[in-house]
């Protein structure tokens, strides 16, 4: 059995820190977020640091490439909290010279006041959840900021950080391809070098999910119209020098989110904080880890020794499925030899040829890539390749 001892190096090594609180829950969001009045930031620093302190020996000698503060709304973290976690991480791992430390921020005025503090704590990249450039739609998405506030916060972020990205959600209720094109042009005129553009997805267990199930979520664009908007997004962004490098992410070459690339290139990442997932390689085996989801349960579990609720080893086919699933999201695709070594078997040639004949994938220099036509139907491609 070839072990996976060094396979993670193809993706790198990062740390994900989950901050589970929001000021208000957005109706479309199915991430692990909670609304609460009182947060004892010192308690959270202590717990994060306890989690970092139990880092397995096998992971300690590595160089850390990235840290990502995600949520929830990490811009509700006190800059001292962020600084303390970064310092604790530095005690454990040597930081790469070009380490990327990102933090997700709400584009509100209060948060903007903390940006300088985050910079001083070591954060060097901000990702802002602007979501829409139209007040009516922001309200419908349940966002608590206005476009004006968002633009002001964005300007402050730009003055503090070299790298600022923002998110927009499209294929919203009542949105036409023309509406989106106008909004996207505005976004591109603001953007520095990175944009995340997500199609609105109705998830079960969210307020939108419930409304959708009851037939109350009206005017959602049809699949065809949403597909048109996706295509439009690819074309316009590419024309502005910000081509897609992943299904929903666009950047000037070299400005890609390195932390997210660790996921997509199937590297190793340690996940701490409530509901954080991790993938870590120890002794040649890839493990999936999860932590307790609710803040209270996680804090209590940490105080008793570990916040981890699950650590399971992935077998060859599971790890290979994840490698493919994540890797084909990237325009750069997946190395077929790497796939074969993780899976202990090559991908089925017949399926590959069928998909190539349909124009869904290309294979060159032993790399398998989903084409511009294939990426919007990636789930179908994966079903063909993995389910057979």
């Amino acid at each position: 059995m070839t072990d996976l001892l060094d396979d993670w190096r193809n993706g790198g090594f990062g740390l994900y820190v989950h901050w589970p609180f929001c000021q208000a829950k957005c109706p479309y969001c199915d991430f692990n977020s909670h609304v609460t009045a009182n947060i004892d930031q010192k308690q959270w620093v202590k717990s994060y640091n306890q989690e970092l302190a139990r880092t397995p020996e096998a992971l300690r000698g590595r160089v850390l490439n990235t840290i990502f503060f995600g949520g929830g709304t990490p811009s509700l973290m006190h800059p001292d909290t962020v600084a303390a976690v970064i310092e604790a991480a530095r005690e454990i791992w040597p930081f790469a010279n070009d380490i990327e430390i990102s933090l997700e921020a709400n584009p509100g005025s209060v948060e903007a006041g903390r940006f300088a503090g985050y910079r001083d704590a070591g954060v060097n990249r901000i990702s802002m959840g602007i979501q829409a450039l139209n007040d009516e739609d922001l309200r419908r998405l349940g966002r608590i900021h206005s476009v004006a506030e968002a633009r002001a916060a964005f300007d402050i972020a730009r003055s503090c950080f070299d790298r600022v990205s923002f998110d927009l959600i499209y294929a919203r209720q009542g949105q036409t391809p023309q509406d989106w094109e106008t909004e996207l042009q505005t976004a591109l005129s603001m953007a520095i070098d990175h944009l995340s553009l997500y199609q609105l997805t109705i998830e079960d267990g969210t307020a939108f999910g419930d409304r959708y199930a009851r037939g109350k979520l009206r005017d959602l664009p049809s699949d065809d119209s949403a597909a048109d908007m996706y295509q439009l997004t690819q074309d316009i962004c590419a024309a502005h020098g910000m081509p897609a490098y992943e299904i929903s992410n666009h950047a000037r070459p070299g400005a890609e989110s390195r932390h997210n690339q660790i996921y997509w290139r199937y590297g190793d990442y340690l996940g701490i904080g409530p509901g954080a997932h991790g993938r870590i390689t120890m002794g040649g085996i890839r493990y999936a880890t999860e932590t307790y989801r609710t803040p209270g349960a996680w804090l209590e579990a940490v105080s008793k020794g570990t916040g981890e609720s699950l650590r399971e080893s992935l077998d060859h086919s599971e790890a290979a499925a994840e490698l493919l699933m994540m890797g084909l999201r990237l325009v750069e695709g997946v190395d077929l030899d790497r796939y074969a070594s993780v899976a202990q078997a090559p991908l089925e040639q017949e399926q590959l040829i069928n998909l190539a004949n349909l124009g869904m994938v290309t294979i060159s220099d032993r790399r398998l890539c989903a084409t511009d036509q294939g990426r919007p139907v990636l789930n179908a491609i994966l079903r063909d390749l993995l389910v057979g």
């Binding site: 997805t201 597909a227 929903s248 996940g271 994840e322 999201r329 139907v377 179908a380 389910v387």
Partner: protein, 599 residues
């Protein structure tokens, strides 16, 4: 051994829901045959499916001891007959095993088509018939009107009809008295060779096949060697008894009595309903009249959704066939569906019952192909082929002509729905034979092709009449018509399991409907898919399913890897429910849904 004059054998004729089973329960209860604490609703319907649907599939029997007002104790044998048209032959045999019938009619509803069919069977068997008007506790009850209807429609005297509420128990005593007073005692000779009719049989895991018999002449005793006359098989009787309704062993059964025997028989197949049982030596010379081997009329393919379950399906079918001689099967291979079985049934209800039992009792998910009938295909070279499966249709250029089975259908319907019923029958190529009225209800008789009825005729009839119509049919014979095989091509590949025989004039309409349906049922793929209906090489309808354009997870952070992988694993299970035709996955429900005609 009971004296003939103290025996009364009877059946109950009733439409579904008119209270047959409840009445039987009350008779059993009133006579103290079953202790109250052992009573459960509808004692006689033992199979889950029978209970759920409120229908009887196997004949059941119960022996009741009744001390009548005249001071004598009588033995009453009730045979609960299957009430459905699919089991008409079984009903006719049960009728021959008894001397009288209670005709139970819901006094809030009136006579239904199915009641008619069964009451005619009773009349044909020379029964004394006692009308019983049930549900008189309900406000809508109208005994005078219903009694009049019984006289008009059936032509028997209903002036003495007993008014009963099986629910409250009112009239139960009178019913028992009428059975004793009005129904004739059986006849028979004790000293003659044994002559018993095989009324029904079923498989019991402990006792082997249990055979329900009515003794006509002679005596049946434990230890006897008996002969089944239809197939000349010999059996050693190891147990005889009666149902009360639990099995109770007795020493012997004499003329006029109804009971069971076991003889270490392993297959129900070897025990044919209507057969005559006699002594091994010096038996009776002439068998009872009317015996007929079972004849399936409706055929369909049953395939496991998960092809790995083929052997399990074979097991299930083998076991069910042990208990059901009327169900035929042979292995079938479909290019589309893999290995399965082509099965023959007495009718649609029989098909549904078997399918439900396989799915429920054996936990195997099934793909059921379109029900078909047997066509007589006459070849130009003079050969005649019985076509059970449209997929086997020979090349049309070699076919001289095709005949299809026809039925005579009787439908009773409140007159406000008559127009819809006539339209439905006309749409299904029916020829009207009769239309009469009984009060506000119309009785229509149609000559219809069986293939227009086997699929969803009954569902459509129920829906256009809001459930108020009743329907019954019997086969009348074969007639030539302009029939063609319509094949369906998905992505230019023929899907054999969807091919069907249709009338030429209706082919375009059916083809269009089928293509439209399939377009909705087949999920979009990464390429566009033409869906066509064709007769021979000629395409008569076409739809195009456009290519999938959007199916991707928009946001996929690290944490989502597990969830996404689990989703794919779930899709792996879901994919088992699809069948692949060339490059196209077709969901299993498409095979049945595509055939349903909506209007």
């Amino acid at each position: 051994m009971t004296e003939l004059s103290k025996i009364r054998n009877f059946s109950i004729v009733a439409h579904i829901d008119h209270g047959k089973s409840t009445l039987a329960d009350r008779l059993i209860q009133e006579t103290g045959t079953v202790q109250s604490r052992d009573m459960k609703e509808q004692l006689l319907d033992s199979m889950d499916i029978e209970r759920e649907r409120g229908i009887t599939i196997k004949a059941n029997t119960v022996r009741i001891d009744y001390k009548a007002d005249d001071g004598e104790t009588y033995v009453l044998n009730l045979i609960d007959t299957p009430g459905h048209v699919d089991f008409a032959y079984e009903v006719s045999r049960s009728m021959r095993a008894v001397e009288g019938s209670l005709l139970v009619v819901d006094s809030t509803q009136g006579v239904e088509a199915q009641t008619l069919a069964n009451v005619y069977q009773a009349i044909e068997a020379d029964h004394e018939i006692v009308p019983v008007l049930n549900k008189i506790d309900l406000p809508a009850s109208d005994c005078d009107r219903v009694a009049e209807q019984i006289e008009d429609v059936i032509g028997i005297d209903a002036s003495e009809a007993i008014q009963v509420s099986a629910k409250t128990g009112q009239g139960i005593h009178e019913t028992l008295e009428s059975i004793v007073k009005l129904l004739p005692a059986p006849e028979g000779t004790r000293d003659a060779p044994l002559k018993a009719m095989l009324v029904d049989s079923w498989y019991d895991a402990y006792l082997g096949v249990i055979v329900l018999v009515r003794i006509m002449d002679g005596v049946l005793k434990k230890g006897m060697r008996v002969k089944f006359m239809s197939n000349d098989t010999l059996h050693h009787v190891d147990r005889i008894g009666v149902f009360r309704p639990a099995m109770q062993v007795v020493d012997e059964l004499g003329p006029g009595e109804i009971g069971f025997l076991t003889a270490s028989i392993k297959q129900v197949r070897d025990t044919r309903v209507g057969d005559t049982i006699t002594n091994d030596r010096n038996g009776c010379e002439v068998a009872l009249p009317g015996f007929k081997p079972a004849q399936p009329v409706v055929f369909c393919g049953l395939f496991p959704v998960d092809s790995a379950e083929f052997e399990d399906l074979r097991d299930a079918i083998d076991k069910l066939a042990l208990n059901d001689a009327s169900f035929s099967f042979e292995m079938e291979t479909s290019a589309a569906l893999g290995f399965g079985f082509r099965c023959g049934f007495l009718g649609l209800l029989h098909l549904e019952v078997i399918r439900d039992r396989i799915e429920r009792e054996y936990n195997i998910e099934l793909i059921t192909t379109a029900p078909s009938v047997i066509y007589h295909v006459y070849m130009k070279d003079g050969e005649q082929i019985d076509l059970h499966n449209p997929a086997d249709m020979p090349d049309m250029s070699k076919v001289d002509h095709i005949e299809e089975p026809r039925i005579k259908a009787t439908i009773l319907v409140p007159d406000e729905y008559l127009g819809d019923v006539l339209k439905l029958c006309q749409d299904r190529r029916g020829i009207q034979e009769d239309l009469t009225y009984a009060g506000t209800r119309a009785m229509v008789v149609y000559d219809l092709p069986l293939n227009e009825v086997v699929f969803d005729f009954y569902d459509r009839l129920k829906s256009v009449t809001k459930g108020y119509a009743s329907f019954d049919y019997h086969l009348t014979g074969y007639r030539e018509d302009n029939l063609v095989k319509m094949s369906v091509l998905v992505n230019d590949e023929p899907v054999d399991a969807l091919s069907m025989m249709v009338h030429r004039d209706r082919a375009e309409m059916r083809g269009r409907a089928m293509c439209e349906k399939l377009k909705d049922l087949i999920p979009r793929h990464m390429f566009k898919i033409p869906i066509q209906a064709a007769i021979g090489g000629k395409v008569i309808a076409r739809e195009t399913l456009s290519a999938l354009r959007k199916d991707v997870t928009a946001k996929c952070y690290g944490g989502d890897a597990t969830r996404k992988r689990k989703l794919l694993e779930k899709q792996k299970a879901g994919k088992k429910k699809m069948r692949q035709f060339g490059k196209v996955d077709i969901p299993q429900e498409a095979f049945i849904s595509a055939l349903k005609m909506d209007s």
